[in-house]
């Protein structure tokens, strides 16, 4: 594609090392995020960086970008220049032509392609004004180089997802500031952090083709992905990180998906669920979802028994959060039904769902569940305010007593019950919000990443609470990216991929390797389970 434009004059030197990382360590209070990690990326190759949550991938990338300082002692070399790792700055990284494209692409959807390409850079001017002719000519050249057949005046939100990602990459590697654009042709080290995570399979294929082409033009490409299939499809070399250590680096040729899965997961399975549960089969269903549909979600049917905990596994964008929002009435239902204890739940109304006994704990505490500036008591009573109504309005003492009882029951650590939510640690905040829903005595508890950003102690407490709620007869659905959590709590685990349930196993048959395989291979469209 690029060859057709006839402007490709890159230095091609297969032996050139684009990036060398030596003895890189990073210590956070209490944890060692990176431990003497080594990494070498050749120019002209796609180098995949693989590892589970907490493996140190993100820390490594943040250090390379100069955003997070490394511990002293390491060395980072890009191109010809090298530096002690702790002295890396964003300016140096940029000067060495290191470029980053994050999952959030940083494009402004309402602006045009050309405007996005020049975002934050100097526009070419004539007589003091912006020369739009030259802006569009330059944008045209960049688009042609990337094989993007788009008008430069197109609004970015009208682009396909893969096109947006390629546009972001094009912007990253292109020095628009250079007057003649000559430096734009110099190869760079490109770091792509989960660029395919939100793309459907066909779009991902297009992006992978673009990555291969960039490598062919002499760029070094570091590629982070959870889709092991993609990695095997597209990377030349792969490096596996585990628990902050460099596990191995090897060519992808000859590696099978199963092998790679084992390498990435490679951890013993977890402890048992904190409280033994009676067999769910012996109980009547509390929640019945029948042919439930919404935008981006295939028809979904699911029965959840009293005391049963159902785990929902799947990557971001698999529809797992959407499903919870749909059941709790926060997302538009296009078809199907939800019954709680045999009674139909009115769609599209959170309050109606709450009255039927549905409680939804969103993942995003800061914006979707916590009232950070409000006192704990008001956070706790937010879903049950009506219970504190008396003949002369709200009974504040009653509300307060109920709140304090909840704080005690969940052992929430707070400076005082008059504190506002923001003053608490993440774990205690999450307990407060969980307590808010416990106060509604839910029949169906929907939990989205219940222990995200929560410390280990609070995580255990929260797991206990969830198990206790189930023990008292509630039906529970847990969405989690944390494989341990799913295996620890769930009676049954469903795998969701792009709106479809692709697999289901009871706890006895579920294993870490089975889940990991799904997490990492879930990138091909499959038929719906229903």
């Amino acid at each position: 594609m690029a060859e057709a434009t006839g402007v490709v004059t890159h230095r091609r030197d297969p032996q050139r090392v684009a990036l060398r990382v030596l003895a890189l360590s990073k210590t956070y209070p209490g944890t060692r995020a990176l431990d003497s990690v080594e990494l070498q990326v050749q120019a002209g190759t796609v180098h995949a960086l693989v590892g589970g949550n907490g493996s140190g991938k993100s820390t490594l990338i943040k250090i390379l970008a100069g955003v997070v300082p490394a511990d002293p002692g390491g060395t980072i070399a890009v191109g010809a220049d090298s530096r002690p790792a702790e002295q890396l700055t964003p300016a140096w990284a940029y000067g060495q032509r290191m470029r980053f494209v994050h999952q959030d692409l940083g494009l402004l959807g309402d602006l045009t392609v050309a405007e996005n390409l020049f975002l934050g850079r100097r526009y070419p001017t004539t007589a003091g004004g912006i020369s739009w002719r030259r802006v569009h000519a330059r944008a045209r050249r960049i688009l042609d180089q990337q094989g993007l057949d788009l008008p430069t005046t197109a609004r970015v939100h009208t682009l396909r997802p893969a096109e947006q990602t390629i546009l972001a990459i094009a912007r990253a590697i292109d020095d628009v500031d250079a007057p003649d654009g000559s430096r734009a042709l110099e190869p760079s080290l490109l770091v792509l952090d989960e660029p395919t995570a939100r793309l459907p399979a066909t779009e991902a294929a297009r992006l992978i083709a673009a990555m291969r082409r960039l490598a062919g033009e002499g760029h070094g490409v570091v590629f982070v992905s959870h889709h092991l299939d993609e990695i095997l499809d597209c990377a030349d070399v792969l490096t596996v990180l585990r628990d902050g250590r460099h596990l191995l680096t090897r060519p992808t040729a000859g590696v099978s998906a199963a092998e790679l899965t084992a390498l990435v997961a490679g951890r013993p399975t977890v402890t048992e669920r904190p409280q033994p549960q009676p067999q769910p089969a012996s109980r009547p269903p509390v929640a019945e979802l029948r042919g439930l549909t919404a935008l981006g979600l295939a028809p979904m049917s699911l029965d959840i028994a009293a005391g049963e905990i159902v785990g929902l596994a799947g990557l971001t964008g698999s529809g797992r959060t959407g499903l919870l929002e749909l059941v709790c009435g926060a997302r538009r239902r296009t078809g199907g039904s939800v019954h709680i204890d045999g009674r139909a739940v009115r769609p599209n109304r959170v309050r109606a769902a709450m009255r039927s006994g549905i409680a939804y704990l969103p993942a995003d505490r800061a914006s979707a569940s916590g009232f950070l500036e409000l006192p704990l008591i008001e956070n706790l009573s937010a879903a049950t305010l009506r219970e504190h109504r008396g003949p002369f309005g709200l009974r504040l003492k009653h509300e307060r007593a109920a709140g304090v009882a909840l704080l005690e029951r969940l052992d929430v650590r707070a400076p005082s019950s008059g504190a506002v939510l923001r003053q608490l640690s993440g774990g205690n905040q999450q307990k407060v919000i969980l307590a808010r829903w416990i106060a509604t005595r839910p029949r169906l508890l929907l939990l989205d990443e219940p222990t995200q950003g929560v410390d280990v102690g609070a995580r255990d407490d929260i797991h206990h609470l969830i198990a206790t709620m189930a023990g008292e007869g509630a039906a529970v659905v847990i969405v989690s990216s944390d494989t341990d959590e799913l295996l620890r709590l769930s009676d049954r685990i469903l795998v969701l991929d792009r709106g479809h349930v692709t697999d289901e196993r009871p706890r006895s048959a579920a294993s870490r390797s089975w889940l990991d395989e799904h997490f990492y291979r879930a990138n091909k469209p499959r038929k719906g389970a229903s």
């Binding site: 309050r351 709450m354 569940s369 008001e378 879903a383 305010l385 309005g393 304090v404 929430v412 707070a414």
Partner: protein, 348 residues
Amino acid sequence: MSDTSTGAESVAATARGATAERHRRTARALSRGELGERYGLVALLVAVTLVFAVSPETSANFLSASNIRTLLGNQAVTAILALAAIVPLVAGEFDVSIGATLGLSSMVAAKLMTEQGLPPVAAAAAATAVGATVGAVVGIIVGYLRVSSFVISLGMATLLGGVVTWYAKGLTVVGIPQPVLDFGNRNTLGVPRPVWLLVLTVLLLAYLLRYTIFGRTLLAIGVSRRAAELVGINSNIRIALAFLVSGTLAGAAGVVQLARTGSASAQVGPGFTLAALAAAFLGATAITPGRFNVLGTLVGVVFVGVTVNGLTLMGAADWVEPVFNGTAVIAAVSLSAIVARRKARLAA
């Protein structure tokens, strides 16, 4: 949680007891910084009052009963309007149309009383209803279309300004019936009657914000609309209702203004908006800092009123009031931002 009690659990139970003890002790013991935040504006008000009370230019008149009555009577209108402003502000929305609504309402009441010969009570009710309607229109647009309340209410304010000018035909309406003027200017139990209406409004609003589900939902929406919706709050209608309340109160304030001055003209309304907002923002820095609150707003109104009154007695010209109001808004908002940032840092 469990029936069996192990050693570890009893240790946990003891720790839990200690936490509970902490929870029981309410946050009555305030640090010096918190005290300063809470009562800083009150202290400033006292200081300003003292200065005017002793300084030679003003001491003769400032603390006289008649000056205080005039001051309070005049400020009652601003105070009702400031209370109107805090209802949408609590929910995170601006209503900058309150001044214009006040102007429209006072003009409607004046015309109905004089030209149509309606009994004063009926005219007052009709004018208040007009205010309520304006509030409802702004509220429905802002709440259901989720557009910027600042822009919509600013547009409404401009629109109403034009409507009032057209309706008044450029004239000042006078000849207001005596009972109405009596309400505006006589005292009951030594206190100007508009102040009694203010007291009623204060009680109603304090109850509304603290003891009703509606008030608490507005507060929740103001902190996070998304989180409020996910606990089952219909934020669209609540926001619409908040504007309905502010419009109604602004309408009532217009009637009081008419009773107080005995005339209505197209020039009456606009100047009130910023005075009311200044008091509301000053109020958010006092009593319960960071929150718009009824008592703080009252302190804000009195503070602005006393200062402007004192400066006027010292011989300052008309320009003092807008300069002071503008300064108060800028200072209050900047100050609360600084305080909020410091708090966030302390919490982190």
